[in-house]
């Protein structure tokens, strides 16, 4: 399980970084190849990056599907908790559990649809327009991401049932700056 956790984090962070770099390189390339540098321009023109946009979309879809599963673990998927907080404890617990199981149900159903869909697509010759990648590989993000998310919902429901605790996403902390009365350093140069 620890391995799966780390793998998940590593994959989505890497996809995020790689997609950003990819688009950056593609834009720079588009304009750099317009500059008449001798020899260099010829080389740049031989490099074709027209597939960058498509690859970026696919990378982000994979990131979104796996990131959504990671998000269940970090508790970032927020809901409307105004009513639940006002319910008596026992009913609130049941309602929360119901919500988590609905999450598992939805992702499980979608994963199964997705798997069927990918299975059918694997028997066709469909490829993506720019990259020429088989579409079933691209679409594999839906079943794998959804099933992983389903697993995460069950995990969270299980630990909620035993400890009564939900993962809580703390916006101020995750944004990275230590909140609280830290003495702000004076601007560089003036100290």
């Amino acid at each position: 399980m620890r391995f799966l956790d780390q793998f998940e984090e590593w994959v989505i962070a890497a996809l995020m970084g790689a997609a950003t770099l990819l688009i950056f390189v593609a834009v720079v390339h588009r304009y750099a190849s317009g500059i008449p540098w001798p020899a260099f321009q010829d080389w740049l023109l031989t490099v074709n990056l027209s597939w960058a946009q498509e690859l970026c979309i696919y990378m982000f879809i994979w990131m979104a599907k796996f990131g959504a599963a990671y998000g269940v673990r970090t508790g970032i998927h927020v809901g409307v908790d105004v009513l639940v907080e006002r319910l008596p404890e026992r009913i609130a617990r049941k309602t929360t559990l119901f919500g988590l199981l609905c999450g598992a149900l939805f992702t499980g159903v979608v994963g199964t649809f997705g798997a069927k869909f990918v299975w059918e697509m694997a028997h066709t010759e469909q490829v993506s327009p720019d990259l020429g990648m088989p579409m079933w590989i691209v679409f594999l993000a839906i079943p794998s991401g959804s099933y992983l998310m389903c697993l995460r919902f069950l995990q969270v429901a299980w630990s909620f049932l035993h400890t009564g605790k939900l993962p809580h996403y703390d916006q101020a902390r995750v944004e990275g700056i230590e909140p609280g009365p830290q003495a702000a350093p004076l601007p560089r140069g003036s100290a």
Partner: protein
């Protein structure tokens, strides 16, 4: 009838506290299983094609750029520059905080990131100079919401996707209203500070101001990249977002050296976490609006609204009220994804400009971010200032009321938003 079932089910599921994305998805599944003949395979396909658009990818890029900016020392330099300009007036540091929020908002598309970036530096400093925490936290909570009004903004991208409006025009349209809101918040702050005789800073010389400006110029350059790039057609909005993420990375790590290379992985991970959550809501909302359109509900609702003889003024009033009420339950992205496809066709029938409606929704979202029970700005500011939510809610009031006045102005004065995009030929 169908629409009543659909929305009733959605509300019932949402009230159990399950994630909004799951509630949207389950509503669609239930509806498909019981009431229509939409093939089930199309659901799986839609989950993929729902976000298979390059414009949507501006969202992760802007989140990443915002996270780099928050960690990267850019806010610090902007605050120094703002303080050198307005610090000597009544309530100087608070005014500088507002101005810094406005500058940060020019380059950042998230209001929470703005509160964190500016607030975590300005608030301790204000307390050190003898301002009450209540005052500072109130100012920054509301001023931070400029983050989604000025230029780039994630809610604007989501609105653009939901309604097929030009992202560039929406970005630019927020600038003039943003400057106006900055001035209004500043005015109230100045008045409160003068009345209570809050401390003023020493006046800076023009030499110091120039130096502070030069140091903050690295961050402000991003405005040129984003708006210059989109406006001149050098790149699309998504590419501009990617460029600004790379630029923000470069400035944070190599110019201001506030973010060590080791920290980059954490920034990437937290950006991916946030982006994936938003993309997941967008996917399921796309599914939901696919069903809505398939059942022809948005147009039926638009006809129904038109038949009520509200007139333009009445329609705008009702829209504002509906959006403000929704702001008590949901986060901006979910509200826009659910409400925009419904309000948009009716607004078009009333001859309301799509960009104007976008800015109006945006300002409504700003209000929702600053009051309980779900206002994220409030929670973040409470985390930084260690103030309770109830206390902070009271502290925020003077500026929140200002914002409501501003909302009325934005609603009934469309030229305020539309003038600049018109002048630039973006509409």
């Amino acid at each position: 009838m169908d629409s009543a079932v659909l929305f009733g089910l959605l509300v019932a599921l949402m009230l159990t506290g399950m994630p909004i994305s799951i509630a949207l998805g389950l509503t669609v599944l239930t509806f498909i299983f019981t009431m229509t003949h939409v093939p089930l395979e199309s659901v799986a396909l839609k989950l993929f094609t729902g976000i298979e658009r390059f414009e949507i990818m501006a969202i992760p890029f802007f989140i990443l750029a915002g996270n780099f900016l928050t960690h990267g020392g850019v806010a610090r330099k902007m605050i120094d520059f703002a303080t050198s300009m307005v610090g000597h007036w009544h309530g100087g540091l608070a005014l500088a905080g507002i101005l810094a929020c406005a500058m940060f908002a020019l380059v950042c598309g998230s209001s929470v990131a703005t509160v964190v970036a500016i607030g975590s530096i300005v608030l301790p400093e204000m307390v050190r100079h003898g301002y009450p925490m209540r005052f500072g936290a109130g100012v920054i909570t509301v001023a931070g919401s400029l983050g989604i009004l000025m230029l780039p903004s994630i809610p604007k991208v989501i609105y653009a996707i939901a309604t097929n409006t030009s992202i560039g025009a929406l970005f630019v349209a927020g600038l003039v209203p943003g400057i106006m809101l900055t001035a209004m918040l500043g005015g109230v702050t100045w008045y409160v500070a003068k009345k209570n005789d809050y401390p003023r800073m020493a006046r800076s010389s023009w030499g110091q101001r120039w130096k502070a400006f030069r140091e903050s110029v690295w961050g402000l350059m991003l405005v040129v990249i984003i708006i210059g790039g989109i406006y001149s057609g050098i790149f699309t909005a998504t590419e501009a977002a990617a460029m600004s993420a790379v630029y923000a990375f470069f400035v944070s790590v190599f110019v201001y050296k506030a973010l060590p290379l080791k920290g980059v992985r954490k920034v990437l991970l937290s950006s991916a976490n946030m982006s994936a959550m938003l993309l997941y809501i967008i996917t399921n909302a796309a599914l939901f609006s696919f069903i809505l359109t398939d059942e022809n509900i948005p147009h039926a609702l638009a006809d129904w609204i038109l038949s009520k003889d509200l007139g333009r003024v009445g329609f705008l009033l009702v829209s504002n009220l509906a959006l403000l009420i929704a702001g008590n339950f949901m986060d901006p992205s979910s509200i826009i994804l659910i409400m925009a496809p419904i309000l948009h066709p009716a607004a078009m029938a009333f001859g309301i400009n799509s960009v104007h409606l976008g800015i109006l929704i945006d300002v409504n979202m700003e209000v929702g971010l600053c009051h309980p029970p779900v206002g994220l700005n409030l929670y973040v500011a409470s985390g930084i200032s260690r103030m309770g939510i109830t206390e902070l809610t009271i502290a925020v009031l003077p500026w929140l009321v200002t914002m409501l006045v501003f909302l009325v102005i934005v609603t009934y004065w469309p030229e305020l938003s539309l003038w600049l995009p018109h002048a630039l030929g973006m509409l």
